[in-house]
């Protein structure tokens, strides 16, 4: 268990020490990623064998421990973050070198620290640990967002910190301390700790504080930081702002719903109905905004905002199908969205184009990249035979179970909307007749370290369609009564 | 004011009496109205009067800066040492018991007298210093 936390930190140290030798440094980054993935995989064996004893690092105050434990959802998140880190670090090497970025050491160090924070969040045994690593993650990603050091990057950094700190300190911490005073416990327990400890208005306020306080889940109106963070280099957007950071957010919401409130409590009291509709509104509105974005990364960012709310919706439904669908969507969306971001980065590397309107004709010049983009898009939209179709299927099932027909409609409409904002990119790239090459230099595929990862992840999308059953089995203990 | 004969003569005559009165007030402190604070101020007034009439240079000649600076510390030091004697000889801080005069009913302890002298010395030298600093700055103005 300790390995999982220590490996990325050691990796960060090695990267810092090797700053004078870029080749070794980049190798260290990849090796750390592989080791971490191995360590996380080895933990699967311990899952479910016996009731896992929480590993207590230290006690902050009596009853307030920094402790870690294993459970399926956290395992899924850890696997996802560490697995995709391997791919991303290879991609990052290609991207950063091709772009001749400065401060590469700082970049890799912060990257490793962010992953360490993600591991902390994934295995957190209580709300305090979760909160601490949540804040560490905010701090560790800040230098990545402001990486370019330009005025725009600094402004985006302020927005990023402002939103995330304001929500986490003002609302989330408030909710945590309130929970503490109500229950004298912050541990994650199956079935929740709040049941019987508080009455309806209090619970309702608490749920709102948690849902909005976890700003990383980008529930509207606290979503502005995510599009702003797109000034960061593409690998950051890919791994962090499509996978680690935002998924940490929805993962936290999921954890709170499952282990602090307990789905029975939410289901029986109908507390979370309003949350379903906020999530549904976010899904639709963010999709509409995405339609209007010309910058490819901004369009993807709003798509992320919309897709995250699917997961929150799943949590808010508070029934088996909803929770499982939401949890699966963490995985499915991660593979789809990281592919899209990889593609956006590859396009930027190869052609220095970032706007959708400029991308006419590019499909012929970069066929592999754009094919991967198509696969990723279809997975996000939710068409078989790609992973995304399963999670959407379960979400719709959940909505039907909860007898919320309007939500079923929302899910279907948003799929149509995502077709409308994703597929035109592909269509334009392949079929629109682009301008003749004016600069005289031909656009080719991006370098191999960039192309390889996006092939892997798009293959992953396909693969997940066929192995969704295993994922379902893996997550099933979450909702066992 | 150096040319004012009356002032010069009167101040020279009165200065010793002021000093004696100052010491009287200090020494009488433990039994009657008086004590280190008042006595110290009276002592200082003799010097300040001298300084007013004869000028700063003359005052510096009879009590140099170093002396007042040192005495200001020394007075409080005396106070603290008396206090520490209490501790060293096994009583409380500032306990006068070890310094009690034996064989005399009316006399209070040496401790109290010493403390009063300490306070008096400090107050006197601080008052002289204050006067000196202020008048020096005034002289610099002109």
């Amino acid at each position: 268990m300790a390995f999982v936390l220590v490996i990325p930190i050691i990796g960060a140290l090695c990267i810092a020490l090797l700053r004078r030798r870029p080749d070794y440094r980049d190798a260290a980054s990849v090796i750390t990623a592989v080791c971490l993935f191995g360590a996380v995989l080895s933990l699967i064996a311990q899952l479910g064998v016996k009731p896992f004893q929480a590993w207590v690092l230290f006690e902050l105050l009596p009853g307030l421990r920094l402790a870690f434990s294993l459970e399926p959802l956290g395992m899924l998140f850890a696997l996802l973050a560490s697995g995709l880190w391997v791919v991303t670090s290879i991609y990052a090497i290609g991207y950063m070198r091709a772009h001749h970025e400065e401060h590469q050491t700082r970049f890799y160090v912060c990257f490793a620290l962010t992953i360490a924070a993600a591991m902390g969040i994934a295995f957190a045994d209580n709300l305090l640990t979760l909160f601490i690593f949540y804040e560490v993650m905010t701090l560790a990603t800040y230098p990545l967002v402001t990486h370019h050091g330009t005025e725009r990057a600094v402004m985006a950094g302020r927005l990023y910190l402002g939103y995330l700190f304001a929500t986490s300190i003002g609302l989330l911490l408030f909710a945590i301390i309130w929970t503490w005073t109500l229950t004298s416990s912050l541990d994650f327990r199956s079935g929740g700790i709040l049941a019987g400890k508080a009455e309806n208005p209090t619970l309702l306020i608490l749920l709102a504080l948690y849902a909005f306080g976890i700003g990383k889940a980008a529930l509207m109106p606290f979503h502005r930081w995510l599009p702003a963070a797109m000034v960061a280099p593409a690998p950051v957007s890919a791994l962090l702002h499509a996978v680690a950071v935002v998924k940490a957010g929805v993962f936290c919401v999921m954890k709170v719903v499952l282990y602090v409130f307990g789905i029975d409590l939410l289901h029986d009291t109908g507390l979370s109905v309003w949350l379903m509709y906020v999530a549904a509104a976010t899904i639709v509105i963010a999709s509409l905004i995405a339609l209007a974005q010309d910058d490819l990364k901004a369009r993807l960012a709003y798509s992320t905002v919309s897709q995250l709310s699917y997961i929150i919706l799943g949590a808010a439904l508070a029934n088996a199908a909803g929770v499982l669908g939401g949890s699966m969507h963490i995985l499915m969306h991660a593979f789809g969205k990281i592919t899209l971001f990889f593609c956006a980065g590859a396009i930027a590397v190869a052609s220095h184009k970032t706007k959708v309107s400029e991308m006419a004709h590019i499909g012929r010049q970069m066929p592999i990249t754009m094919s991967a983009f198509l696969i990723g898009s279809l997975s996000i939209i939710g068409l078989p035979p790609l992973g995304g179709s399963w999670s959407k299927w379960y979400l719709i099932l959940g909505a039907v179970d909860a007898a919320q027909m309007p939500l079923v409609a929302v899910l279907l409409v948003s799929s149509l909307l995502s077709i409308a904002y994703l597929l035109p990119v592909v269509g334009r790239a392949f079929f629109a007749s682009g301008p003749e090459q004016s600069h005289g230099h031909e656009i080719h595929e991006a370098p191999l370290p960039c192309v390889l990862p996006l092939c892997v992840t798009s293959a992953g999308c396909l693969f997940l369609f066929f192995f969704a059953g295993e994922v379902y089995e893996f997550l099933a203990p979450l909702v066992q009564r | 004011m150096r040319d004012q004969v009356i002032l010069r003569v009167v101040s020279k005559i009165t200065a010793p009496f002021i000093l004696v009165f100052g010491f009287y007030v200090i020494a009488h402190g433990e039994l009657g109205p008086g004590g280190g604070f008042q006595g110290g101020v009276v002592l200082a007034s003799a010097f300040i009067l001298y300084g007013l009439v004869f000028g700063l240079a003359e005052l510096d000649a009879i009590v140099p800066r170093r002396v007042t600076d040192g005495l200001a510390g020394a007075g409080v030091l005396l106070y603290v040492v008396v206090g520490l004697v209490g501790i060293v000889s096994g009583y409380r801080f500032l306990d006068y018991t070890p310094l009690r005069v034996t064989g005399s009913e009316s006399a209070e302890s040496w401790g109290m007298t010493l403390v009063e002298y300490g306070v008096g010395i400090t107050v006197a030298s601080v008052m002289i210093t204050v006067y000196r600093e202020v008048s020096q700055a005034g002289a610099a103005e002109k």
Partner: protein, 116 residues
């Protein structure tokens, strides 16, 4: 008439207000310090007037008198006077430095000099 019986409080508050008014209203720092001194003296008067016992005499008599004023507040005031004198000394020393640094002890002129 209780209103005048407690005249010592009235006088002390009046003096205190005069002191405070001077501190607030006067732009001259020396006058402010004088105001401060008046303010402190008012408090000493308050303490002294507390200790007066009707028909009481000086507490130091041998043998002790039947009715005598409380000597403790006098001792307290004495200490407080020493504190106030020290405050005055420090204040004047700072004022001398201000005069040296700015060439004035008028607060508005000091502010003006700082604004440039």
């Amino acid at each position: 008439m209780p209103f005048f019986e407690l005249y010592n409080y009235w006088i002390f508050i009046l003096l205190m207000m005069i002191g405070l008014y001077t501190i607030i209203a006067s732009p001259n720092l020396v006058k402010k310090i004088i105001g401060l001194s008046v303010f402190q003296t008012a408090i000493f008067l308050f303490f002294i007037s507390l200790s007066k016992v009707a028909e009481g005499t000086v507490p130091v008599t041998v043998p002790p008198a039947e009715v005598y004023s409380n000597p403790l507040p006098h001792a307290l005031v004495l200490t407080a006077i020493v504190v106030s004198v020290s405050t005055m000394a420090v204040a004047l020393a700072i004022l001398m430095n201000i005069k040296q640094a700015y060439g004035t002890v008028e607060e508005d002129e000091v502010d003006q000099a700082e604004a440039h």
